[in-house]
């Protein structure tokens, strides 16, 4: 055999003997599941908060239903309540009872070009003690596809025997007519499924009030934000946009975490902020596609603007922090972001620094000067994430703790950070032309 071919064949044998990783199937499924709406970790936490701390969260907005649906006033408010009062929507009022007595009633639905909203009640005479009873897995079955739940909120009565839920789904295609509302519960450790059939009444659907393409690009330092389109309906306003990925990848980044999409973008109608309903992002290689969802627009719109409050971006800097082995925890500020150095220790020729920042803050170009010698970052060990309630601002933030490992030990230590990726504040206003 010739030498080159030998070498090539040797590697071929390695490939031939590769075992397909067990997680491949799950990863493929997950990639597809996230396809529709890949929620940011923080959005996920927020939606859990919505479920459990419903009253404290001002979630002004899911659209809603026909003859006024009774009993939903505490679950919905603002736009939906208003529409409910006006009897918009379609009454269904059909039930399904599981053999253990749990009863699900689909009270009504509301449809427009942005969503299908389901209003339903779960009744459990013996009480809903376990968490999994609180949140069923849901989807609506149409002609060719399943429409998945995108978010929702519910409220239980004091006895925990009845919960009123309002859930948003993707909008049904124009050809859909006969659909079914499906739900799974885990009852006595076994999954059980129920469904309620219903017929969509197109006469009751509300369509849209504004629908137009925008296609304009705005630049934020080294990132482009492109606004594609806006679609406003009686229940919500959806803006589609795409955001260029960050060119840099922070060193401090742990695999599988996508921080490119962190952003805070508000919608202003006639100068007043419209409540945010949530947002989703997905990416397939290139740009990150954003779907920004806001409450319905007020009636007389004269001016519509987007305010880009924060966008994840990179910043070069030169931050130097003096440290000592076994020092007490130290809190410092890096581009207005809090950074806590929890401890510094040395072991077997390495120096370890444990530090905590908000999860969106990542460090790059990091060195440790050990007795006048620069040592590059050797490894980052992820310690985990934590939710911290900031009382002054009345909101929760997610913190990220990790250990930075550097080769070498010594007495005089200086941590040098030359670049960070963090949510930069812009507060720039973009006008959306409306015809």
């Amino acid at each position: 055999m010739k030498r080159i071919e030998d070498t090539l064949n040797h590697y071929k044998e390695q490939i031939d003997h590769l075992e397909v990783p067990e997680e491949m199937e799950i990863r493929l499924q997950k990639a597809l599941d996230q396809k529709r709406r890949k929620k940011k970790p923080f959005a996920l936490v927020a939606s859990i908060l919505v479920v459990f701390l419903l009253l404290s969260y001002n979630f002004n907005a899911i659209a809603y239903y026909s003859q006024k649906l009774m009993g939903y006033d505490e679950v919905i408010n603002g736009t939906l309540q208003d529409l409910n009062e006006k009897g918009k929507g379609q009454e269904i009022n059909k039930s399904y009872t599981f053999n253990n007595g749990i009863k699900v009633t689909l009270d009504g639905i509301m449809v427009d070009a942005n969503n299908l909203i389901a209003f339903y009640t779960i009744e459990a005479p013996k009480g809903i003690a376990e968490n999994h009873m609180l949140t069923p897995t849901l989807y609506i079955d149409g002609l060719f596809q399943k429409y998945h739940a995108q978010g929702g909120q519910g409220k239980a009565n004091d006895e925990y025997t009845k919960i009123k839920w309002v859930h948003e789904f993707e909008p049904p295609h124009f050809f859909e007519k006969n659909m079914s509302f499906n739900f799974h519960f885990i009852i006595n450790g076994k999954p059980q499924e129920g469904k309620i059939d219903f017929t969509l009444d197109r006469m009751k659907a509300m369509g849209h009030t504004i629908k137009q393409t925008i296609n304009k690009t705005y630049t934020f330092e080294d990132r482009n934000l492109k606004i594609h389109s806006i679609r406003a309906t009686p229940t919500s306003t959806v803006i589609k946009a795409s955001l260029e990925k960050l060119v840099d990848k922070a060193q401090d980044r742990v695999r599988d975490r996508d921080l490119h999409a962190l952003y805070e973008i508000n919608l202003l109608a006639n100068g007043t902020e419209v409540d945010r309903l949530g947002s989703g992002s997905s990416s397939s290689g290139g740009d990150i596609e954003l779907e920004l969802r806001y409450d319905a627009l007020p009636r007389d719109i004269e001016k519509l603007e987007l305010k880009v409050v924060k966008l994840q971006n990179t910043q070069e800097l030169s931050k130097k922090i003096e440290l000592q082995v076994d020092m007490k925890s130290l809190t410092t500020d890096i581009m207005g972001q809090e950074m806590i150095i929890k401890n510094v220790y040395q072991d077997e020729g390495y120096t370890y620094i444990t530090l905590v920042t908000e999860e969106s803050v990542l460090l790059d170009d990091v060195f440790l000067k050990i007795d006048h010698v620069l040592s590059p970052l050797d490894e980052v060990i992820e310690k985990g994430y934590d939710k911290v309630i900031v009382k002054e601002e009345n909101k929760a933030k997610i913190t990220y703790e990790r250990i930075l490992k550097f080769k070498g030990t010594g007495k005089n230590l200086e941590l040098q950070i030359n670049k960070i990726v963090y949510p930069k504040t812009y507060n720039d206003i973009i006008e959306i032309p409306i015809k």
Partner: protein
């Protein structure tokens, strides 16, 4: 044929059907991704990118029977994109961290051949990996790389010649 039925379902947006199609040839897909990326993490990333694109585009696939070659072409492109991005990163950060990550736990032999392959241009690298690591015929290579069979052959030939200059020793074109 069973698979044509599943392809039809996948075309209608059935995610399970799409996953099933890929998993029915999981080794082929995984090896292809691995041959390009050289490690498990990037290979799985590429497969994820691929399935998302397949899901978006499958409705425009005209011939059902070309699903596998079509999807493999997309996979190859996803891999190239990952490699391209990676290259950028190593370039910009001249730090050692990435390099540690790269070489850690990798077998000697592989570093060898991968290092040599680095000296070829990306088109040559690609065809050599497809031809020698995956044993693909020229027709398949031409489909995946979207060039004519003649071009694919000449890329393999030129790639081998260049390898020879670097490594020394003999070479010939394997048919």
């Amino acid at each position: 044929m069973e698979s044509s039925h599943i392809i039809k379902r996948a075309k209608k947006g059935d995610k399970e059907a799409l996953v099933h199609l890929i998993m029915s040839q999981k080794a082929e897909y995984y090896k292809l991704a691995y041959a390009y990326t050289g490690n498990k993490d990037d290979a799985l990333d590429a497969l994820e990118d691929m399935i998302v694109i397949l899901y978006d585009k499958i409705s425009s696939l005209k011939k059902d029977e070309s699903f596998y070659s079509w999807s493999k072409t997309i996979l190859a492109n996803c891999c190239k994109k990952i490699l391209k991005n990676k290259k950028k990163i190593i370039f910009m950060d001249t730090l050692t961290e990435q390099v540690y990550e790269e070489s850690y736990g990798v077998k000697e032999q592989r570093i060898d051949i991968q290092n040599y392959l680095q000296h070829l241009n990306s088109d040559q690298q690609e065809v050599i990996k497809l031809k020698y690591f995956l044993d693909f015929d020229y027709k398949t290579i031409a489909e995946i790389t979207k060039v004519s069979e003649g071009t694919a052959k000449s890329r393999v030939f030129n790639g081998l010649r260049k390898l020879k200059e670097i490594i020394g020793g003999e070479y010939y074109e394997k048919d």
